[in-house]
């Protein structure tokens, strides 16, 4: 074939492109599309509570009712210890990051498939979709945090300097949600099993995360195993940063941070590796 030589040259061009310059291009594009990003978050937030009776109140109802149920069953019936903190605030302070995380990985995991028409008809950096799905939950998180503040006043919980850790933990939590979300989202493009696996994974994850119970009730031998779950250090950290006298377990937080960063980087790499084929197989 006459064009054989031409093909080789072009293949080389394609190979060369997959270096650092492409990463630069990738971030530049992401920046260019930052407004789309804003509009997608805005759309999801806006649509979520349209045609609902309680509207935005749902952001409070869900964690609050869960907290009440947990208190009734685990505190009053099962006598769950809570490291000397009133159980309602003990569980609520952990429920907020947990609910954010579970919602974020579920919406992000479904996001590409839900936005199929966009993927097959328009070009924009694909990363915008799971990222906006992940950030969308922050609005609910913010609203529900107001209740947490009220509870802290009610239970007369004072603040300590450890509150400074809180925003750092939030950033780590977002990174973790996004990392997990990106992996599920790109898997979902090819394998629709993800739809069934996601709720199940979320449910199991809750049991291995100290939301209902403090990690102090776990036998010492198993703790390192538990701390492999990046949510362990993050959620205990959230609690400790708000409620004084808990003492932040720095090694657990550090471990979580490392696992979180690994998951985030792996998620981004996997997403970038697969995003080229999204439009073809979705």
């Amino acid at each position: 074939m006459g064009s054989g030589k031409g093909i080789d040259r072009m293949v080389q061009v394609m190979v060369k492109q997959s270096g650092l310059s492409v990463s630069g291009e990738w971030f530049r594009e992401f920046w260019h599309y930052r407004e789309l990003f804003y509009f997608l978050v805005w759309r999801d937030v806006k649509v979520r509570y349209k045609q609902t009776i309680f509207g935005v109140a749902w952001a409070i109802i869900q964690p609050f009712v869960t907290m009440v149920v947990f208190t009734l069953f685990f505190r009053n019936l099962a006598n769950m210890p809570s490291d000397g903190i009133p159980y309602p605030i003990f569980s609520y302070s952990a429920l907020l990051p947990w609910i954010y995380f579970s919602m974020a990985i579920n919406t992000a995991g479904m996001s590409l498939v839900m936005n199929r028409p966009l993927l097959t008809k328009v070009y924009f950096p694909r990363i915008v979709i799971p990222t906006s799905a992940t950030l969308c939950g922050l609005v609910d998180f913010g609203i529900a945090s107001v209740v947490l503040l009220a509870m802290m006043v009610y239970y007369r919980v004072g603040l300590s300097w450890e509150i400074l850790l809180w925003p750092v933990l939030l950033i780590l939590l977002i990174m973790l949600s996004l990392g997990v979300g990106m992996i599920f989202a790109s898997l979902n493009v090819r394998y629709r099993d993800v739809r069934h696996a996601l709720p199940f994974v979320t449910q199991l994850w809750l049991f291995v995360t100290p939301v209902i119970y403090p990690s102090s009730i776990i036998p010492e031998v198993y703790r390192p195993l538990l701390s492999l779950n990046p949510l362990t250090g993050l959620i205990e950290g959230f609690r400790a940063s708000l409620l004084p006298g808990q003492g932040v377990d720095w090694s657990a937080v550090g471990m979580s941070a490392i696992v979180t960063i690994i998951i985030f980087v792996a998620g981004t790499m996997y997403f970038r590796k697969t995003e080229r084929t999204f439009a073809d197989i979705i």
Binding site: G6, V11, V13, P117, L118
Partner: protein, 436 residues
């Protein structure tokens, strides 16, 4: 760089068939166990949707991309607009590019028209500030001022479409890729869209425009690219390329047609069309078909492998690519239990071919009940419809009178002319002018 679009050896390979397309992990695992060594799609399942396409476009050019269905036009557009990635080859686009493969991409039915303008605009790559500045013009263009703050689920489909096009028409891109968006919408709005695109040409914008509407391509574009089987057949002045493209259809005209020589075919091949015949009521071959006449279209086929419940269809298109009718056994409720290997034919009897005199193109398909097409031949035969005295008035009918003839008659009994059925007799006789 002088060129607005540079395309070099652009190629895209798709894998058809079931391998590689497992959609659940279970299927992936079973196929891995069955064929542990096979990593990628088998060779025979590869098809090149686009193969070694190269061309350059000057800034400000408006180019029409034409070709039959499945020729690779849409894939080309998707590659150019970066929606899908090439297997190899490269595309360079200078400046800001926007693609319009669909009108109103990303519209959300719960959001208002105004909110959707922002959403759709940002999806197409507009900045918020830009949309702020243009929103009044966009709303006016779409003509939906009264409904702009209503959720678009209350809009009619026409309104939604107009809104979508209005946003796209105000895109301020250097390069625009447009797919068959003019195929929808009412005529008046189509005209408006064509004008808007005409303005694009004036604005020095580069436009690549895929269409089946030859009239639109000829009007809008000075240059056209004709694509077939993923490759460029002709690239040149629009008028010449269109003429050449249309002439390939004319080659297949006649009372009958042999399809055995057609080599590259789509479909899975259990059934292959081997020929087509036009017959009159006595099953005699028919060379001339007149408006209103009875016509039998006989489709000859060859069955390679036993199939159950096949369906057959004939599609009739105008020479501008408008689908006039899709006649098929499925819609008519005809069930064919099975077909054994061998040759055979199926007849489509048309009681009265009420088509205005013109040239029509036929496409044939045969498929299973599902989406699997056994065979598909696009624009494979030409049906030449000759004028006839359809209404028995002795007056000729031409294409400019439309596409269809309906069996009908006028009654003038309400006009006070009970006795005479023919209006012309009531006219005051004109004095003959005597010349010389």
């Amino acid at each position: 760089m002088a060129y607005s679009i540079q395309v070099q050896n652009l190629s895209k390979q798709y894998c058809i068939g079931s391998s590689q397309m497992e959609t659940t992990i279970r299927e992936a695992l079973t196929s891995l166990i069955r064929h542990p060594l096979r990593r990628f799609c088998e060779k025979k399942n590869h098809i090149w949707a686009i193969k070694d396409v190269s061309f350059n476009v000057e800034p400000g050019e408006v180019i029409g991309v034409i070709g039959r269905n499945g020729a690779g036009k849409s894939t080309l557009l998707k590659l150019l607009s970066k929606i899908t990635f090439p297997t190899y080859g490269a595309v360079k686009v200078a400046g800001r590019a926007a693609s319009m493969l669909e009108v109103g991409t990303g519209f959300h039915s719960e959001l208002s028209g105004r909110e959707n303008i922002y959403l759709n605009g940002s999806i197409l790559g507009m900045k918020k500030r830009e949309i702020d500045a243009k929103i009044d013009k966009i709303i006016a263009f779409a003509g939906v001022e009264k409904f702009i703050d209503m959720p678009i689920k209350r809009y009619s489909s026409g309104m939604e479409l107009r809104l979508g096009f209005a946003v796209a028409a105000h895109l301020d891109a250097d390069v625009l890729f447009v797919d068959e968006v003019l195929a929808v919408g009412d005529t008046e709005f189509q005209k408006k869209c064509l004008n808007a695109m005409g303005d694009m040409r004036g604005g020095g914008r580069t436009v690549l425009f895929v269409s089946h509407n030859m009239a639109a391509v000829e009007n809008l574009c000075r240059r056209a690219i004709w694509i077939d089987s993923g490759q460029i057949v002709r690239d040149g002045p629009a008028k010449k390329v269109i003429e050449e493209y249309l002439s390939t259809f004319k080659a297949t005209r006649g009372a009958g047609m042999d399809f055995e020589t057609i080599t590259h075919r789509r479909g899975t091949g259990e059934i292959r069309f081997s020929g087509i015949e036009f017959l009159d009521e006595n099953h005699q071959s028919k060379n001339i078909v007149c408006s209103g006449e009875r016509l039998t279209i006989r489709l000859h086929y060859r069955v390679e492998k036993k199939v159950s419940n096949p369906h057959f269809g004939v599609e009739i298109f105008t020479d501008m690519g408008t689908l006039v009718a899709s006649l098929n056994t499925w819609s008519s409720g005809v069930e064919i239990p099975y077909l054994n290997p061998g040759k055979g034919y199926i007849d489509l009897n048309i009681e009265a071919l009420n088509l205005m005199t013109s040239q029509y193109h036929l496409s044939l398909w045969t498929s299973s009940v599902g989406p699997t097409k056994y065979d598909q031949l696009d624009y494979c035969a030409v049906l030449e419809v000759e004028p006839s005295d359809f209404y028995g008035s002795g007056r000729g009918m031409e294409r400019k009178f439309g596409l269809f003839l309906f069996p009908c008659h006028w009654k003038i009994s309400g006009m006070g002319h009970e006795a005479s059925p023919i209006l012309s007799q009531e006219r005051v006789p004109v004095q003959p002018v005597i010349s010389e």
